[in-house]
């Protein structure tokens, strides 16, 4: 009989109790995992905008979500003149839908001559004319999904458009988008000379961060975003999601820990006599706490495993809901497992520490008196 065997035996001897406790851990893990995956996915989907161009950074309107950013051609001209800026391309973004399969369609207004400098490849057909009114280019994913080739027509927002080209950005997000000639798109959106984002390429030999600073200092209305972290900070909507995610993690751990503590306290009260006996037989407090923690860790591992499984299932169901198809492309980052494990351990250790220490504090003969 080894210590590990005893730990497993004790968990097994109280199957129902152990399962209930594991379930509490699992629910906590499930919450944390599924929210984490969803948050990651939203972050990645939204930040896909940033990957669209071979730009060092993106300029957006300060204090507003990237998709709602409103800038002007005048501002673009101003940014182009700033020291350290080699080139800047302006795009106008809008979101729409394309039937039930594409509840979120990203529309990008762009000048044809800016397409290739942004790092976008044309994989079929060609760019639209600068002043065309009904020509579009579709991303390669969209083209494959809808079996579109140059020359086909496509109805977007009630208007028939001719697909003149298929583009490839290399990003999941970009390849599901549609590009419009900027001028007519601005007219259609009723924002003449309006833009959403500038993609900035810096001159060689200048630190990107310096140029970013130059841009931000040039106008209080501009923010320069370089990576996901800055992206999260620049987007209040995203900050909110992140905050909700973190709050949910804390709440999930809190509730999970309370449930674990509750079951553990009950089960330990049942076991006072047992603990009194083994302490009277010469077990140290440390060994006893080790036993209780060991049992808890076994339960936590089971709970973590089940929770991760249920979490992935939840995300799969969510991402396949008709309303979310294409919006939520689940991203499973490896750290989500770390997060699951941390949650499981936090829930268990928090839940079990008090009952375990209480059991250990009890003197053996006191424990044996308890019935």
């Amino acid at each position: 009989m080894s210590f590990a065997w005893l730990v497993l035996h004790n968990v097994w001897a109280k199957k129902v109790r152990s399962m209930l406790t594991a379930l509490a851990v699992a629910v906590g893990v499930l919450t944390v995992v599924s929210l984490g995956v969803v948050t990651d996915s939203i972050r990645t989907t939204a930040s896909g905008v940033l990957e669209l161009a071979e730009a060092e950074f993106v300029v957006a309107q300060e204090g507003i979500g990237v998709l709602d950013s409103a800038l002007t051609e005048t501002q673009l001209d101003m940014v182009r003149e700033l020291p350290g800026v080699d080139n800047a391309v302006g795009v106008l973004l809008n979101t729409s839908e394309l039937g039930d399969d594409y509840p979120l369609l990203i529309q990008i207004g762009v000048r044809p001559e800016d397409v290739r400098p942004m790092g976008v490849r044309i994989s079929a057909g060609q760019e639209f004319d600068a002043d065309a009114e009904d020509e579009v280019m579709v991303g390669i994913r969209l083209a494959q999904d809808l079996e579109l080739t140059p020359g086909d027509s496509l109805e977007i927002d009630g208007e028939q458009r001719t697909v003149v080209g298929v583009f490839n950005t290399g990003s999941e997000f970009g390849d599901g988008a549609v590009m419009f000639p900027l001028v007519s798109f601005q007219a259609e959106q009723m924002v003449p000379a309006g833009l959403s984002l500038f993609f900035v390429q810096t001159s060689g030999g200048v630190a990107v961060s310096e140029v970013q600073q130059t841009v931000e200092e040039s106008s209080p209305l501009l923010t320069a975003i370089r990576d996901l972290v800055e992206f999260g900070q620049s987007d209040p909507g995203f900050e909110l999601i992140t905050a909700i995610d973190q709050a949910a993690m804390i709440i999930a751990i809190g509730i999970g820990a309370l449930v674990v503590m509750n079951t553990m306290l009950l089960s330990l009260v049942e076991r006072y006599r047992e603990f009194g006996v083994i302490r009277a037989l010469g077990w140290s407090r440390r060994r006893l706490v080790g036993l209780v923690l060991g049992e808890a860790m076994v339960i936590a591992s089971v709970g973590a495993g089940v929770g991760v499984g249920l979490g992935f299932l939840t995300v799969w169901i969510l991402s396949n809901l008709p309303d979310l198809l294409g919006v939520l492309e689940p991203i499973y980052e490896p750290w989500i497992f770390g997060r699951a494990l941390i949650t499981a351990i936090a829930v268990t250790v928090l839940g079990v520490m008090y009952p375990a220490l209480r059991a250990a504090r009890l003197s053996p003969q006191e424990a044996m008196r308890r019935e």
Partner: protein
């Protein structure tokens, strides 16, 4: 027997001097100045009316609690000044409780084996020793039965085997025959005597049972937390 040992000048295994123990901040006086000695390999019985302090005394002997005042030396150690009481309990004394107190979800081997955690014995050694002890108490073949599947007498013998696991110098038993029928009681008593002779343990047994008292070398009578008669002392 005890007199012979005493004449040999052997150090007493238990030495209690004016031991006092109260509960509830002095409201309950469980032991009120108890003094006695027990020689190595002696078989001592303690008896007295319910509530006179017998179990309390055994708990002190087993270092489960400390006296309020007075000194109590067991197996060469002052039980009030132990650095590691748990090691003392594990290595020096064997304890059989007033109720058998086996762990219900472990089989007989497990119940004996659990007393050997923390010793230098490895897993295999512990299992072998547990088997050997069950053989010793006549339970060979019942090692995989759990307490609910054992009779009262068999359970008490498992508890005895468990108490002997780490070769203690003193075996302390609280009403070991309390709930047993005549046959089982005789078995347990024979076993205790054999353990004393073969394993060389000192026996301190609390009982009301005439036959248990008869089997002892000496009977200490307690009343209201005091020694009122010690038949071995002259």
């Amino acid at each position: 027997m005890s007199d012979q040992l005493a004449d040999d000048g052997a150090e007493p295994v238990i030495e209690a001097v004016e031991v006092r123990k109260t509960f509830n901040h002095g409201a309950v006086v469980a032991l009120d100045g108890v003094t006695f000695e027990v020689a190595p390999q002696e078989h001592v019985a303690i008896t007295g009316p319910s509530g006179c302090g017998k179990s309390t005394l055994l708990h002190l002997l087993a270092a489960l609690d400390v006296p309020d005042s007075g000194t109590l030396r067991v197996a060469g150690e002052d039980v009030a000044r132990l650095e590691r009481p748990n090691e003392f309990r594990r290595e020096r004394v064997g304890l059989v409780f007033q109720m058998h107190n086996l762990l219900p979800h472990l089989d007989a081997l497990g119940n004996v084996g659990i007393a050997m955690f923390g010793t230098s014995m490895g897993r295999r050694e512990r299992t072998e020793r547990a088997q050997e002890l069950l053989d010793l108490v006549g339970l060979d073949g019942l090692g995989h039965r759990r307490p609910p599947e054992l009779s009262g007498g068999e359970r008490q013998r498992v508890a005895l085997a468990r108490a002997l696991a780490n070769r203690p110098s003193v075996l302390i038993a609280d009403e070991p025959t309390g709930s047993l029928d005549t046959g089982s009681r005789r078995l347990v008593l024979q076993l205790l005597e054999r353990l004393r002779v073969e394993e060389g343990v000192t026996l301190v047994v609390v009982s009301h049972d005439e036959r248990v008292l008869d089997a002892a070398d000496r009977v200490i009578h307690l009343r209201d937390g005091r020694v009122v008669d010690d038949e071995g002392e002259d």
